[in-house]
Amino acid sequence: MKKFLRTGNPYIWLTACALTISMLMVGGLVALITMKGLGIFWPHTIVKFTLQDGTVVLGEIEKEEPIPQKKGMYRTKLKVGNRDVYGMDFRWIDNTDIISREYPLYALTFERREWGNMYGFLKGLKQDGDIQPLNLKELAPLREESKALLKRIRYIERKVIGKINYQMEKYRLALKHLMTQQYSVKAQEDIEEVKAKVENLEKTYREKEDMLAGLYAQAKEKEIIVLLADGKEKNIPVFNIIRVYAPNEMGVFAKIGFYLMKLWEFVSTEPREANTEGGIFPAIFGTVMMVFIMSIAVVPFGVLTAVYLREYADDNIVARLIRISVSNLAGVPSIVFGVFGLGFFIYFVGGNIDKVFFSESLPAPTFGTGGILWASLTLALLTVPVVVVATEEGLSAVPKSVREGSYALGATKFETLWKVVIPQATPGILTGTILAMARAAGEVAPLMLTGVVKLAPSLPVDQYFPYIHFERKFMHLGFHIYDVGFQSPNVEAAIPMVYTTTLVLLFIVLVLNLTAIVMRNKLRKRYRTTAL
């Protein structure tokens, strides 16, 4: 045994264990997120429990687990929904209390615009005080109707009223500007003119508002009556229903179709109910846009530094200082960049931009508050080292002979660089860019100080001049995870959504990283052959 220990084999196994644990951690994490994230859109069957005390509950089984401190007993977490009736989405039930469990075929899941899901049976339709029986098929045309109505409402709210607001703001600023000018007849006329326009707009605004009120009233006219598990009846306006389905009736293919539809809804629509339901489209959009703005800023900066270090600098003090700076930019905590971004970009640069260009709208800040541009620039500073390192690697992979060939033909240093070296090093630069994007997509702490919000009223891109609004606040996947998972009022109901959001972010980051790794390997291989 002693001899065996002396060979060192057991220790080798011990070190191998460290690697195994690391691998298991990565694998486990990815598997966990994938499992939890992908599961939530699958339509769950609705179960009906009759309990010992005679109550009947209806809902989706969330999980079953042993009761702590009680041997061999299990309890079930049931999502009973109907938050407006029961106050809570979830209910713990001891399994010993359950007398019978059934899966009623006609039990329906109602996804609603407010108050989360409702589980129950469709009883009838209430229209103008009359109650008529109704089945699921007959509900479909009514739903189409309300969808059309919703589309109209949204159009008026977003497009028409949005436009009015936009113009009002423009006139308000113009008016403010005119007021500050020297008194003259012309200016007075202009003021009158603008005031007349504003009045006109206000009139249209009121008209549209009345119209909206009418539409909303119309939306409330038709209500369906839902029979709940405990025999209560509840009315829901058809307009408030997003989707109705009978999961217990669905076959596998129907479920797959449903699943894909929900997945699409998730990535393409806006969040509802304080971000706990609906989609995450604005967050995806915000993340992507921020990452692109950041790349535009970081790539030239990083490439210049790398080119200087590889091609121009000797081993002098400046080069060494630059190396130390680069490694420090990589090592300084991201929150420090956030603080810097807040103090420098927002309050200093942004504040001064406001003073010079947007003085009409002061004291309301335009650039002097967090926005997508400042967030992107802050992250650009943070990701410089990533680009520098990758570009350097790309540059160093270009064989010396290629350069010498170029010099021999009479090219200057810059021409060699521009026409020969950089094109060959492009994969390295691209790798750096992609890695920087991956890093920026996942970074949250600096954004919390520089312009991310839990719910942005409008995207940074829209149909109004100048189309891209760099000063606007934006949503971000990473912050969305933090916010919904830790700040939302109903964390328990929101957790599945957080897992899915996490999965989306993880997917983006992993795809970017894998692309970079594959590219880097290709680059290495290419030069291994050319160098020979």
Partner: protein
């Protein structure tokens, strides 16, 4: 040709500039952070100093919010409003209710003056300033309203001292008379639904003070200023009543303070008597918030006393001295609190006026006037001080005093805050009320940062280095693909790790904590089992499985070990922890278990740091020149011996820098700490408590901090601390690495 050379040159310049920009970026980072922190270190400044002459001796003074108009109250009841721009008298008001008596004592509470007269009456005067706009120019208009005088002393003696507080429904006034009586008067609206009824109480409470006379200790004192005799030669020299109308403090010429509890107005009782000085107490007053009592004495000492919880005293409370400020070295005669923070001004008979701050025990500014400054006031916005001297001069100082509460001591030392039992390190930047005392000690945050870092390094360092050693020395070549997989781990956004740690791992570990305790044992057992099985395997299988695949071979065993220990959770809980681990921890070790605790952070942050340490030390180890390892192997050393005795020492600078860089990452990690701990700024090494780290604290508080305020700058200081720490660590690590690279290239 010339153009080409020009372009070449321009490009060289541009690229050099681009390279140097990185240095600028780091420098800018440092400089900018420092610029924002710097005002904290700078003291207060006097922006403007003005002197005006007055018409007569005054007894009290005040000023409006914008420091445009000051008012003075003289003994004969004249209130004069003086424009502070040119010294002219804007308005004069004669207090009508005074008739022929003179004012002998004043209590000023913001803009409400309560005057005591020489014929035993009290009189309330309210002075307000209203703004109006005349041609876009702001005009301040002073207004005076007075109430009917009330006879408080039926013997119509002169009132030496007065203190009065009131709110919407009640008023309490306490006076001391020239013949040493202490009188209390309280009115309260006891309104029923239909009729308002006033309940009035009048009490002579002299006995409470008289009964406790020291035995014949006669202190020499200024008999002109304080002459109300109590008998035994001790006089009442000052009074202070808090706005809760519950605690009355009476200062005497023998240097004692009587604390009289008047929460029951019918039966006031003496709660405590403390000796605060060996000379007379000359001024008493409350700091903003009416909790800290400022005591000025005849020697010039300025101290702050507060009721502190104390088990040994019968009432459970005891007056204790919590702050000592710079002495005037002459009798203190006037006091004025700031209405913004815990700052205050005191003046003394020798003409010195001090601006102090209680929390920081800082003497912020010193002024000197040629004559005794008898009346003082602090402007409502705490940006100016006014003093009236005995030679009929009015002095005004406009000051800039943005961060009086910050000194190195308040940032890094123990401070005795209001409401605390002893000096402590506390971080609590905001409170519910205006009179909240900000507690900005960075120590709990630094402690939290270190705690999180230490626990995560304990997990990350061994795993990272061992995994790197294995990967570089023993892993089969065909399996090198594992390396990028671990590197991918570094790319995982910390928000994901934090989310999983906070919402998945924390509840999980809370449930299976006993299993976590026995898990290392089972993992080692499973390795032993794997090793045994490996040796028992017939050689043809071994041949297929090659050396260097141990890590893969181990996967099922480790999963098994984890599974088994979780299955044994209940068993281990009853065997090791007597059935309930929380109770066990609490009773046996005295540790409290929070769901989100340092252990969770250790795991999650360890996860983030492992790949960093792994990658850098793996690089260092696999770059150890081949001839060294070959020589070792040729001399008959086993691969393990070669790895430990040759590779590890040679690569140790690289490993060291890997650990340093990992450390830097852990120190600054924000999201994981934010999400996986409760963020409570408590101190203590308990593994099962949460903590608050510098970085997470910035993320939490920065969005709410007003720009340019003290909190804002302190948070910048926290960022600067993080920056400097990581800068030193990184620069050091980078230098070590560069040196090692150069050494290798020589080998």
């Amino acid at each position: 040709m010339k153009k080409r050379r020009l372009i070449d040159k321009a490009a060289r310049w541009l690229i050099t500039l681009g390279g140097a920009a990185t240095i600028f970026a780091v420098l800018a980072l440092f400089v900018f952070l420092f610029i924002e922190v710097y005002p904290l270190l700078r003291g207060a400044k006097v922006l403007k100093e003005k002197t005006f002459s007055l018409n007569g001796k005054i007894i009290s003074l005040g000023v409006d919010e914008y420091q445009e108009i000051a008012y003075t109250v003289s003994h004969d009841g004249t209130i004069e409003f003086i424009s502070l721009s040119d010294g002219s008298i804007v308005n004069t008001y004669l207090i009508a209710g005074l008739k022929n008596s003179t004012i002998t004592s004043v209590d000023k509470d913001e803009n409400r003056l309560v005057l005591g007269t020489n014929d035993g009456r009290i009189l309330k005067v309210l002075i307000t300033f209203s703004e109006s706009f005349d041609n876009e120019k702001k005009v301040i208009i002073p207004e005076v309203s007075e109430k009917e005088p009330v006879q408080i002393d039926d013997q119509k003696r002169t009132l030496r001292n007065i203190t009065s507080r009131s709110d919407d429904s009640a008023t309490v006034t306490v006076v001391s008379t020239e013949d040493g009586r202490l009188l209390l008067k309280s009115t309260e609206d006891v309104s029923t639904l239909f009729d308002g009824e006033k309940k009035e109480i009048k009490r002579d409470i002299t006995d409470l003070v008289k009964r406790y006379q020291p035995n014949g200790l006669h202190e020499p004192h200024n008999s002109i200023l304080y002459s109300s005799g109590l008998g035994n030669g001790t006089d009442i020299t000052s009074l202070a009543l808090d706005h809760f109308m519950e605690n009355l403090y009476v200062g005497t010429s023998s240097g004692e303070i009587f604390h009289i509890n008047i929460s029951d107005k019918e039966n006031p009782s003496l709660q405590e008597k403390v000796r605060v000085s060996d000379k007379a107490v000359t001024t008493l007053g409350f700091l903003f918030g009416d909790i800290s009592l400022v005591v000025g004495d005849y020697r010039g000492g300025v101290n702050i006393w507060m009721q502190v919880r104390d088990e040994t005293s019968p009432s459970g409370w005891m007056l204790k001295k919590i702050h000592t400020l710079k002495s005037h070295n002459a009798p203190v005669i006037a006091f004025a609190p700031s209405l913004r923070d815990k700052g205050f001004v005191t003046s003394a008979a020798n003409g010195t006026i001090y601006l102090n701050h209680a929390t920081s025990e800082q003497n912020v500014l010193i002024f000197k006037v040629p004559a005794t400054p008898a009346a003082l006031t602090f402007s409502p916005k705490a940006d100016g001080i006014l003093a009236a001297s005995s030679n009929n001069n009015l002095f005004q100082w406009i000051i800039s005093n943005p961060h009086p509460e910050i000194t190195l001591k308040t940032l890094f030392g123990k401070v005795w805050y209001e409401g605390y039992e002893k000096p402590e390190f506390v971080w609590q930047s905001t409170g519910g009320t205006d009179d909240f005392e900000p507690k900005l000690s960075l120590v709990p945050l630094i402690f939290g940062t270190i705690k999180g870092t230490v626990y995560s390094m304990i997990i990350a360092v061994p795993i990272g280095i061992f995994a790197a050693l294995y990967t570089s020395q023993f892993l089969h070549k065909s399996l090198k693909i594992i390396k990028p997989v671990i590197e991918l781990m570094a790319a995982l956004p910390s928000v994901i790790l934090g989310f999983l740690a906070g919402l998945w791992l924390a509840p999980l570990i809370e449930r299976v904590f006993p299993a976590i305790v026995i898990m290392p044992l089972f993992i080692i057992l499973s390795i032993a089992l794997a090793l045994y099985l490996w040796r028992c395997l017939p050689s043809w299988i071994k041949g297929k499985y090659r050396y260097g695949a141990e890590a893969l071979f181990l996967i099922p065993f480790i999963i098994g070990a984890i599974y088994v220990s979780i299955q044994l959770n209940g068993v281990s809980e009853s065997v090791l922890f007597g059935g309930d681990y929380r109770q066990w921890l609490l009773h046996i070790l005295g540790l409290n278990y929070d769901q989100r605790n340092a252990l969770i952070v250790g795991f999650a942050m360890g996860f983030a740091v492992i790949p960093l340490i792994f990658t850098i030390s793996e690089d260092a180890m696999s770059n150890v020149p081949n001839n060294l390892t070959s020589a070792s192997l040729a001399l008959g050393a086993t691969t393990w011996h070669t790895a430990v005795r040759v590779v590890l020492p040679t690569a140790s600078p690289g490993i060291f820098s890997a650990v340093m860089i990992g450390f830097g990452r852990a120190v600054g990690e924000t999201m994981i700490v934010l999400m996986a701990t409760g963020n409570t700024p408590i101190m203590g090494w308990n593994l099962f408590n949460g903590f608050r780290a510098l970085a997470a604290n910035i993320a939490v508080e920065m969005p709410e901090a007003p720009v340019g305020g003290t909190l804002y700058r302190v948070l910048f200081l926290a960022a600067l601390l993080l920056f400097v720490t990581t800068f030193i660590v990184n620069t050091f690590a980078e230098t070590v690495r560069q040196k090692m690279k150069r050494r290798y290239s020589k080998l």
